[in-house]
Every structure is written in structure tokens, then in C-alpha cells.
Symmetry: C2
């Protein structure tokens, strides 16, 4: 498959695919004229790479993990990498969840304000609290 088709089917840019090759994430052989040729499996591989990028992994970290997809051989080091990244993702999910909940709290306040703009100033302390439960 040519690079444009892979890009389209995987939902990334052509430039991104060249970058992935540069980083060693995807290997493409070449046609006699030098054009990249990808196997069908490249599409799923790129989607997986995108998944990890979206989770905040760096290309170096992805490069450490990809061999497992190819060989399914799990050294203890590979297992540790996988669990380490999973842990990192968990931490991020927790941080995002805290931010989400905090925004939700503010949105509730905003809704209260819309219902009765004049009588909401008593809730001002809630906006300043960070983790503590309501202390009225």
C-alpha cells in the first residue's frame, strides 16, 4: 500500500507516517523508485501508535513497547515497561478526573447563579475550596 492510502485509512497525515518511520516505529520497504510500500498490517499498527500517543507516551516509549506487538515475547523488562506505562496513564486519568469533577462543581455553581444571581454570594467559599467537602 502507498503512503497516502495508509494515512487516509489510519487517520493521520503523510508527514506523520514519515516521522514514525524516522523514529523507527514503522518500517516500510521501498519500490524500485524509492516510494514507500506498506503492508496491510501497517494501518492497525499506526492506529495503535496513535492510541499510545494520545495517552501521552513519547515515541521513545512507544518504540520500547512495539517489539512486543511483533514478537509477543515478553521479557520481564517488557512486562515492566507495560505496567509502568499503564501506571502513568492511570495517574493521568486520575488528574483528569479531578479536573473534571472540579469543573463540574463550578458548573453547578454557575447554574445556581443563573437561577438566582442575587442570592449566590454565600457560596463563594466553595469556589475557593479544593478537595474539602462542604463544611456548612
Amino acid at each position: 500500500m502507498r503512503i497516502g492510502k495508509v494515512a487516509e485509512r489510519a487517520g493521520v497525515s503523510v508527514r506523520a507516517l514519515r516521522y514514525y518511520e524516522e523514529q523507527g516505529l514503522v518500517i516500510a520497504d521501498r519500490s524500485p523508485s524509492g516510494h514507500r510500500r506498506y503492508p496491510e498490517s501497517a494501518v492497525e499498527r499506526v492506529k495503535f501508535i496513535q492510541l499510545l500517543y494520545a495517552a501521552g507516551l513519547t515515541s521513545k516509549a512507544i518504540l520500547q513497547i512495539l517489539p512486543f506487538l511483533d514478537t509477543l515475547v515478553a521479557t520481564s523488562q517488557m512486562t515492566r515497561r507495560l505496567t509502568d506505562e499503564r501506571a502513568r496513564i492511570r495517574v493521568k486519568i486520575d488528574a483528569l478526573t479531578r479536573a473534571h469533577d472540579r469543573l463540574e462543581e463550578l458548573i453547578r455553581l454557575a447554574a445556581e447563579y443563573e437561577n438566582s444571581p442575587a442570592t449566590c454570594s454565600a457560596s463563594a467559599d466553595v469556589a475557593a475550596s479544593h478537595t474539602s467537602p462542604p463544611r456548612h
Copy 2:
């Protein structure tokens, strides 16, 4: 309070605080000699800013939201900003969760391999699947 103390208590660098001021996120008045003076409330404010940064918001986006913390006046535009950012965070949580689950799947495979390296090649298709459930 001086900048060093705020940095320490909020868990950020002095440079970060200067940057926040540059972005209009935190206002500090100055001593006659030009040193920044922060109110106590600055610590919580900076922690809130950090929370939003950690959730992937840009300083511009945070700048749009901060006035609500100060005034607790919710225009319809403000409410929309809050809900928009909450939605964006949700999307990120979902993406992270997908990556997390995928890694978990791989970790299970790795564990299987460790238990019986020779008999696991039959699971090779699992590593290539993306969203589909086990189809044995």
C-alpha cells in the same frame, strides 16, 4: 507573601509564577522595590491553575475561565466555556481509558507468555485486534 514562598507552597517553580503573571493568570502587586507581593489566596489560585494545566488546558483557555472564580458571575458564555472544557476532558479520559485497557490486555498476554512461552502463539491475533471482543 513573596514569590519564593508561593512557589514552594503551591508546588511550582518561581519561573512558572512569573510566566503565569505574564499570561495574566495571576496578578501580583509590587513592593516599592519592585518585588512581587502575593495574597494568601494566590496559593490556591495557582493550584487551580495547575489542575487545569494538568488536564491539558492552555493558558488562554484558563484565562477565559478564571474570571468566574473571582466574580462567580456566570454569563451564558462562561457556562459554555466550562461545559466545553469539561467535555474535552471527558474525551481525553476516554482516550486514556482505551489506551489503559489496551495495555492491560497486552499485560495479560505477557503474563500468559511468562507462564507458558511455547503455547501462546495461538493468541497472536489478539495482539492485532483493536476493539473487537475475543472471537474464539
